[in-house]
Subunit: 202 residues, 2 copies
């Protein structure tokens, strides 16, 4: 299982945005939608071993939406369908406990700190980090990505305190969804190589 | 300069599709839109050294739209904005010569064969090809990608005749836009390594 945390600093926490103008009315939830697609969508199916936490900080109380690959349904590769799923999740009454929206999608109130302090092994994607292709990764990695604003100083301090490693996907600064594509591919390649090694060893 | 050719086998060649339901009304032009974004969009800007040919085969006469990074304007990372640019290009009267639509976007009638037979060095992205990370690439590569239907037997025959090499991005079958993200990243990494080597040599 691998998880991605994507922080939307201006993302709306209420469903009153327009699917006809997602970038202009939702606080850039379009960015989060593309991250969801990048994390889950395969040519013929869904990555079941992935989870995505979207942290929506555009209004109080802030909210977290969790998309869980094992249960996820109704996800299509286009941006608008994903935005409609997020809209539905934001219409669910959120408390400090997880509430279910559609299959595989859950929502609660909360922010970035709650996720970071849960004791998981964090990998923070940022320019000038260690080369993703060269770093050892835990079995259950949790990757942290900022939106178009990057991460705030306070968030970076939280990550440092939590022992997050800083990793970079390449020499050029990319959108979060493109970083997720690269991470999934790196993990695919490693998993395939491990399987080949295991076959040779047996 | 690197170019991508993406073939939309059912893509509409007329602008009468709805931006409110791109996947359902355009012959999956949403796939082409995501390929365009993957090819061009950086965190802070546009890749100027990229070109994308979209081949729209959903009706006769078929059309080719070319997006040229050096001149491209008005491209945003969201799907709908890109679809609106394609819609505009499809409203331009197309002939066998290139006609300009918006800055950096051109349209003509034509199909896949015209592009393949132009003598360029083609890299065809397909499952079970040689590993992208291990192959030598020409200075001006042209990558060919299919849509959700893959490529037809006739198209594959054309590619073989043109001497296209078959390359794969990894062990899992991915959408075309995700393949483009991986190709751009591989080329970014190679370019950065080349620059470092040149610095060391001097």
């Amino acid at each position: 299982m691998k998880n991605f945390i994507v922080v939307g600093h201006v993302a709306k926490t209420t469903p009153d945005f327009s699917l006809e103008d997602i970038p202009g009315t939702s606080g850039r939830i379009d960015i989060l939608c593309r991250c969801v697609t990048a994390a889950f969508v395969l040519s013929h199916g869904i990555r079941r071993d992935v989870g995505v936490y979207l942290v929506l900080l555009g209004a109080e109380p802030s909210k977290i939406i969790y998309l869980q690959g094992t249960e996820l349904k109704h996800l299509n590769p286009d941006e608008r369908t994903t935005a409609a799923l997020i809209k539905k999740a934001l219409a669910v009454e959120a408390t400090q406990e997880w509430s279910k929206s559609t299959p595989g999608i859950f929502v609660r109130t909360g922010g970035f700190a709650e996720l970071v302090e849960s004791g998981v092994e964090l990998i923070y994607l940022r320019e000038n980090g260690s080369d993703l292709r060269g770093v050892a990764l835990p079995d259950e990695p949790v990757f942290v990505l900022g939106d178009h604003q990057g991460m705030t100083e306070d968030e970076e301090a939280l990550l440092e305190k939590a022992g997050a490693r800083v990793v970079s996907v390449g020499p050029v600064s990319l959108h979060a969804d493109h970083c997720i594509v690269l991470i999934n591919n790196e993990l695919d390649i490693r998993a395939a190589n491990t399987n080949v090694s295991e076959l040779k060893d047996n």
